[in-house]
């Protein structure tokens, strides 16, 4: 084997040690976790997983998380696709400034927006709903989505738009029938990154929900920090949070590397 393949394999092993550790912790008994350090669980138990699947609180918070992530990905794509199209096709008055302004929102720390979001969503009567979190996550996902999509769209020659117009396609029909399929992989990649960043976000999801829309990341936090933490249970919940994303990653794997290949910057 080539030296660099070996180096790569070593890197992947290091990359997966923490995840392996979490997985084996999740199937150990509480007794074994606290007593001694073992690399393979002596006795495999799925009790922690069972407890999560049986608890309405855990089930509810997984459902809440998935709901706001899906709402967020949908509204982000619906807003970002036409927006990215505008940036990729025309250099209009203030387009560069607007593009940079959008990016600056990606830089804002969530902690800054905690209080204003709470106040605003109280007024809009969506505080403590999935919509509040979904809308708040647009803060960082719309700029990112426009950024990635613009790169993909710029890779499609303008002549395609013009030919379609000459052939008598109306703009909406051209967009839906010709343009969207062409950037299909771009949409897949964008959806993956939006999913990721919304799924892992903690600060806003925590600030904007109390009980009705409590996401899994918050349910998890409750157990940490306290004395006598149930590490096995936490680890099992942690393993479960990786699964939805892993499914998404499997479907977009072939497009992932292209995601940032092109682009304005």
């Amino acid at each position: 084997m080539k030296k660099r393949t070996i180096a790569l394999i070593i890197y992947f092993i290091i990359l997966f040690v923490p995840i392996y550790w979490m997985v084996i912790t999740s199937v150990k008994t509480d007794n074994e976790i606290l007593r001694e350090l073992t690399f393979f669980p002596k006795q495999i138990t799925f009790q922690n997983y069972g407890e999560i699947f049986e608890s309405p609180i855990w089930r509810g918070s997984f459902a809440n998380s998935l709901s706001y992530v899906f709402i967020n990905v949908l509204i982000t794509l619906m807003a970002a696709i036409p927006g990215a199209y505008a940036f990729s096709r025309w250099k209009f008055l203030g387009s560069n400034q607007l593009f940079f302004w959008l990016l600056t929102n990606r830089m804002a720390p969530a902690a800054v927006f905690m209080v204003p979001f709470t106040e605003l969503y109280y007024i809009l009567h969506i505080y403590d709903t999935c919509w509040a979190v979904a809308l708040a996550h647009c803060l960082f996902n719309i700029p990112l989505a426009i950024w990635i999509l613009e790169g993909f769209m710029s890779g499609i020659p303008k002549e395609i738009d013009e030919t379609a117009m000459v052939d008598g396609y109306s703009f909406p029909r051209f967009f839906y029938k010709i343009f969207l399929p062409l950037i299909g992989s771009g949409i897949g990649v964008t959806a993956f990154f939006c999913f990721t960043f919304s799924w892992v976000e903690l600060v806003l999801a925590k600030a904007l929900t109390v009980t009705n829309a409590k996401p899994v990341v918050v349910t998890l936090t409750v157990g940490i920090g306290a004395e006598g933490v149930r590490w096995g249970l936490m680890a099992a919940a942690g393993v479960l949070t990786i699964i939805p994303g892993a499914i998404v990653v499997y479907f977009v794997r072939n497009y992932m590397a292209k995601g940032f290949a092109l682009g304005r910057v």
């Binding site: 550790w21 607007l98 830089m107 720390p109 204003p116 605003l120 949070t241 794997r253 940032f260």
Partner: protein, 284 residues
């Protein structure tokens, strides 16, 4: 009608006004007032800003933050490039590698925190267990250096895959003809990398540097979960400092810190962008 571009941006701008512009203006408004729960806010002009700029805790958090973010860039960007260069360019290894790289990115911040605790807890953790064999008492709750280094390694573990993905995407976009030409010219491996690969990677590297800079500047959950910003204030990064003030309802002060924070991060990002676009212009 070039300006119909604005028309296509209406949905995005509407959403951004609700989820970015209005909250930001609210923060700016807070920053100009003295706010204490129960009484009406009083306008104090730039007084909050003066207070922030004169506060030692803020200086410390800022310096800590800058050092941390630069360390992150110094390690993650070169490491990411190296790993991307070692990745297979075709065959079934590609898909496997990409899926493996994607998985750490999908782990929520607080699950990362749980993993960190599993490794570092003084009672059950693997790291204290092994390091104690070398007669060193590793304890993130007591030793600042242990806590800072641990958070640094967590960040490198969690986010280097993003740099690898970006760089790999850039590598795939370089046509083989460039390498063939370099080979014919008898270029060494290093000079091929330096004069063919690196200039072509510039766009994705700019993106990688900017994303990693902005996001490492936002680091929040990892120190919060590992030690709550401690020991002392050793891992109280800027975001944690802001959140603490906002949580204790010192909204005027928190607002002023936030605005200063944004100015700093935008200024640095702009600087990186300018420097990186101008470096090595002659190479291409």
């Amino acid at each position: 009608m070039k300006n119909k571009g604005w028309l296509f941006l209406i949905p995005a701008l509407l959403l951004m006004s609700v989820s970015a512009f209005i909250p930001l203006m609210t923060v700016v408004n807070y920053s100009l007032h003295y706010i204490f729960s129960g009484s009406a806010p009083t306008f104090v002009g730039l007084e909050n800003y003066v207070e922030v700029l004169n506060e030692p805790n803020f200086h410390d958090a800022l310096i800590r933050q800058l050092i941390f973010s630069f360390m992150v860039l110094l390690v993650e960007i070169p490491l990411g490039i190296l790993i991307a260069l070692a990745m297979p360019r075709q065959g079934f290894g590609v898909a496997i590698s990409l899926v493996l790289l994607g998985i750490p990115l999908l782990i929520p911040y607080n699950v990362v925190g749980i993993i960190a605790r599993l490794f570092t807890q003084s009672d059950i953790g693997a790291i204290p267990h092994f390091i104690s064999m070398f007669n060193y008492d590793y304890n993130v709750a007591l030793h600042s250096a242990d806590a800072i280094l641990t958070i640094f390694f967590i960040d490198v573990w969690h986010w280097t895959p993003l740099v690898v993905l970006l760089t790999y995407a850039g590598l795939q976009a370089i046509p083989d003809a460039y390498y063939q030409a370099a080979q014919i010219d008898g270029a060494s491996t290093w000079s091929t990398f330096r004069y063919v690969t690196l200039p072509k990677l510039k766009p994705v590297l700019i993106l990688g540097v900017l994303l990693r800079f902005m996001d490492s500047f936002k680091i929040y959950a990892e120190p919060l979960l590992l030690t709550g910003g401690g020991p002392g204030n050793a891992t109280t990064f800027l975001s944690l400092h802001v959140a603490r003030k906002a949580e204790s309802y010192e909204l005027g002060y928190a607002g002023a810190v936030s605005v200063i924070y944004l100015v700093i991060v935008i200024a640095f990002s702009y600087l990186f962008y300018q420097v990186m676009t101008h470096i090595g212009k002659g190479d291409q």
